[in-house]
Symmetry: C2
Subunit: 243 residues, 2 copies
DNA sequence: CAGTGGTCTAGACCACGCG
DNA sequence: GCGTGGTCTAGACCACTGG
């Protein structure tokens, strides 16, 4: 039944999704061996290329570790909720699963010189601002305050943006574009007056600031967002393989 | 002359290095087209697989951007000194090129409960401490204070560790192991008494803290390092492709 | 429409880990 | 020595971009 119906994902993505589900279901004990490449080729009826592409994806997500000569094993840290890989955008979005994010449109704004400097943009430009707080079940203090700026080229679709899905995904769908790259600049800052009030932290207390720029396939900056996290509530975890 | 002499890097790495040098030399104007895959196949006399593997590496480093149907272009931000990709360990090490790093062995230490908590480790364990400062040409203030802890299993090689090369590379060589993974936890903290003094910042001022764990192929933590950067001098930049 | 990069096959040889 | 994953070849078809 591989008829039409949405033209389906590539084979390697399907294999990866299947194996990811098995890993997270715990079919292979943490630290224990997974099937070899040739076994997976037989099981899915695909070539080694396809299997390796799927495994490459899982490795990038930090779920598995591979060694020439010995084999493929499930990464013991990989499943831990504490160390959540964020090198992948899919996880970058749903990061801190169990958290909820509420944002509201504020309206069009013209960047002040101060804001422009924070955002690494030009003063005087017109952007459409959304403000939001991310809260975590069980915490009375928010874990993030976010200001998101959408480029004026999308003024027509801004009123259609809804909660429940990330802004940039909606811009892709409503604006007919595709985000090709996300850049992140991570810094430590002292809480400003507004952040301090909303995040319920003392003014000037250490906060993690994450500036994200969403770039489409043609290289235009479509959206910028500036998130501020209380230093005591938030850690950005990542991993790097193939040193 | 591809005789022996160190068994050489894989072909795709050589192709990648060659293209990287050309890009950084400015042979292709930023934003302009690079040779197509088939052109590179012909030029280097290799298969498309090898060329694609090389280009995949350059893409992961943020140097190029690719689009089906149109082609491969040099990423306009990629060459910028301001936005330096750090998703690759090679750059993670020589990050902020132009900076110098001086460290000194302090000796064996037994982790206090406080330190153990900072490092996410067990109190009472014995580690070998190195302390260092990273300074940048033209700045009178250091951009980082680093405390690096080497596992007691490497007590024998600790006295042989020298400046001028990263500690973990020396552990690989001297200890006969291989680092397979590096994890990073990035947080915002307030400067403690010692950091404040060494970094010449006020106490409790916002700083970026980076805790790195170096894990070998068997899953053991070989080294941990805790770097503290003044918030106003240091930004951690990264990028994510294939959203 | 021709040409690009994305996916995929069926082979091959090799370096490495382990028994 | 055997099986693992890492590298590599020479093909193929497809989706997409652009003129």
């Amino acid at each position: 039944m591989t008829t039409r119906a949405a033209r389906a994902a590539p084979r390697y993505a399907q294999v990866a999704a299947d194996l990811r589900a098995e890993i997270q279901r715990g079919d292979y004990g943490a630290g224990s061996a997974m099937p070899t490449e040739s076994a997976l080729c037989a099981r899915y009826g695909v070539s080694r290329f396809t299997v390796r592409e799927a495994l490459r994806q899982l490795q990038a997500e930090g779920l598995i570790r591979r060694r020439r000569g010995s084999g493929t094993v499930v990464d013991p840290d990989g499943g831990s909720a504490l160390r959540q890989s964020l090198t992948d955008v899919k996880e970058l979005l749903q990061y801190a699963s169990g958290s909820t994010y509420q944002f509201e449109p504020v309206g069009p704004v013209v960047l002040s010189p101060q804001r422009a400097r924070d955002l690494n943009a030009e003063a005087g430009e017109r952007w459409h601002l959304f403000e939001g707080l991310r809260t975590m079940a069980g915490h009375h203090r928010p874990i993030a305050y976010t200001a998101a700026y959408v480029h004026d080229a999308f003024a027509a679709v801004v009123p259609k943006v809804r909660r429940g899905e990330t802004i940039f995904r909606q811009l892709e769908r409503l604006g007919g574009i595709k985000i090709a790259k996300v850049t992140q600049d991570i810094r430590a800052i002292g809480a400003g007056a507004r952040e301090a009030e909303l995040l319920k932290v003392p003014r000037r207390s250490p906060c993690l600031s994450i500036l994200r720029c969403y770039v489409d396939t043609t290289g235009r900056i479509v959206e910028m967002s500036l998130s501020v996290h209380p230093g005591d509530l938030f850690t950005y975890s990542m991993h790097i393989d193939e040193v």
